[in-house]
């Protein structure tokens, strides 16, 4: 397997608390890797380490054969790492289209120079995630599910090679869920590698090629969804610290 991302012994400590503890894994090209774990397991922290929003206390990150440790977030974005935020971060004062255009203007390879072209790309992505009808609205006028889609469209407009999705399916109803799953599959079919964090088991099981389980920052299981979800250690982690 040709690894797009290699994570080697990655750790993050917050004054006493170890949020991510010596995690190692590889993500292959065009692979969808599911990342699950109870609340506070360290999933978002791991995404923050990969995107550069946080610096690791220890360990190494290699993206497409190149060490990216120490690079600021914008450089990693230029290299092709796109992400969404669990706590959504729209640009509230901009229209939905311009929110997405930012991704096209500054994304992979430094982005598109031309504003009109960037807006055209934005529109294409909005169409793709089903938000074209609200393209001219201010972003803060969107409701919850649409905001999730906006996060996704913004990351897609960057034309990423690695996409980090932090709970883009939370709070969606069943039919919306199906749509987003289909979207993520299509993105992958375009050659993008995807790391997807999700609590909705049904979604993660059908979507992921492989699953990775974090618990108290430690990786407690890795493998095919069927295999991992039967794993006694995983079952216990979830039963022992049940969410909701």
């Amino acid at each position: 397997m040709d690894a797009v991302l290699s994570v080697n012994g990655l750790s993050k400590r917050f004054s006493g608390l170890t949020a991510v503890a010596h995690v190692s894994f590889e993500l292959g090209r065009g692979e969808i890797l599911g990342l699950i774990g109870p609340n506070g397991a360290g999933k978002t922290t791991l995404v923050n380490l990969i995107s550069g929003a946080l610096e690791p206390s220890d360990g190494e990150l290699v993206f497409e054969g190149r060490s990216i440790g120490g690079l600021p977030p914008f450089r990693r974005a230029h290299l092709g790492i796109g992400r969404t935020f669990q706590i959504m971060r729209p640009f509230p004062g901009l229209t939905v289209r311009d929110n997405v255009a930012v991704g096209a203007l500054f994304g992979t390879g430094g982005g598109e120079r031309d504003l009109a072209k960037a807006r055209a790309i934005a529109h294409e992505k909005l169409d793709f995630v089903g938000l074209a009808r609200v393209a001219d609205r201010p972003a803060d006028a969107l409701g919850g599910p649409d905001r999730k889609r906006l996060e996704l469209a913004k990351a897609l407009a960057m034309n990423p090679r690695l996409l980090l999705l932090d709970e883009v399916m939370a709070g969606l109803n069943l039919s919306e869920l199906e749509e987003v799953i289909a979207i993520i599959r299509k993105v992958r079919d375009g050659g993008v590698s995807v790391l997807v964090i999700e609590h909705v088991m049904k979604a993660i099981r059908s979507l992921s090629d492989r699953l990775l389980v974090l618990h108290h920052g430690e990786m407690i299981a890795e493998g095919t969804p069927e295999h991992v979800l039967e794993d006694p250690a995983v079952v216990e982690a979830y039963l022992g610290k049940r969410r909701e």
Partner: protein
Amino acid sequence: MRARVVVTLCVVVAVLLAGVPWIASPATIEFGINMLLLAALAQSWNIIGGYTGYPSFGNSVFYGLGSYGTAVAMLSWQLPFGVGLVVGAVIAVVFALLLGRAVLRLRGHYFAICTLGVAEVMTAIVSNLEITGRNQGLVLPLLKGNVLFYELSLALVVVATLVVWWIARSRFGFGLVAIRENEEAAASMGVDTTRYKIFAFAISAAIGAVAGGIHAYWITFIDPVSAFDIGLNVKMIIMAVFGGPGSILGPVVGAFVLSAISEVLSSEISTVAGLFFGIVIVVAVVFMPRGIADLLRRFHTYRWRYFAANVRATRV
């Protein structure tokens, strides 16, 4: 279509303003110079405060550096006024690049307070340097007449507005607005936030410094306290915010309207003028917190509900 009307209107207003010195009294021209310089300063603040979302109190420092840079260039180095303006601008830009690197890491109030401190420090430094005349200040050669200064000030407003117009429709401006709206998201999407913020600060500094240089030569006297006066920075903010921060014309309109109101008030009812001016500002902040620019954009759809909605939104 609507954009073309606005542009035409702006050109007409600029041409009419350029003709004012030939028909107006000296007092009016003096009022005009002050108003135009404030408009240029409000516009310079608009770039860092309005577009980038960093509430700078350091812009009066750029103004002060421009004043002193121009004065020192003319007095100590015998350079012509035009070169002096450039010297002042270069000093301010270099200062902005260095200062920006340090303080643009801070956000919100922290940034504001830190830039405020810098203004105080600069006053102290300039008061103790030989070349800047210590706290006695500097006296520049007298150039009779106001017309040159008036036209230069007008030109500066035009240039500053063109710069903002370019920013508003450029990739650079897109990056600045993204920083204002959510810096972390902007960075994760590939905006080189540090560099963009520092550039915005530097452009803001260049405009502010030229305004300071023009003012220094016009007034022919500068001293540390008035050159680095925080009150001027407050005025820039009030005018930019009153007109509409993050809009192309708002700060200029804000400066014109507020200068006119304050002029009328101080000539009619001098004793309570300050109070009335304060009331105008408070009323404006409550009823139209996003400035005249936003009022004009939305009034035709919301009508009087616009004000009610703003009052509700600000919970006053």
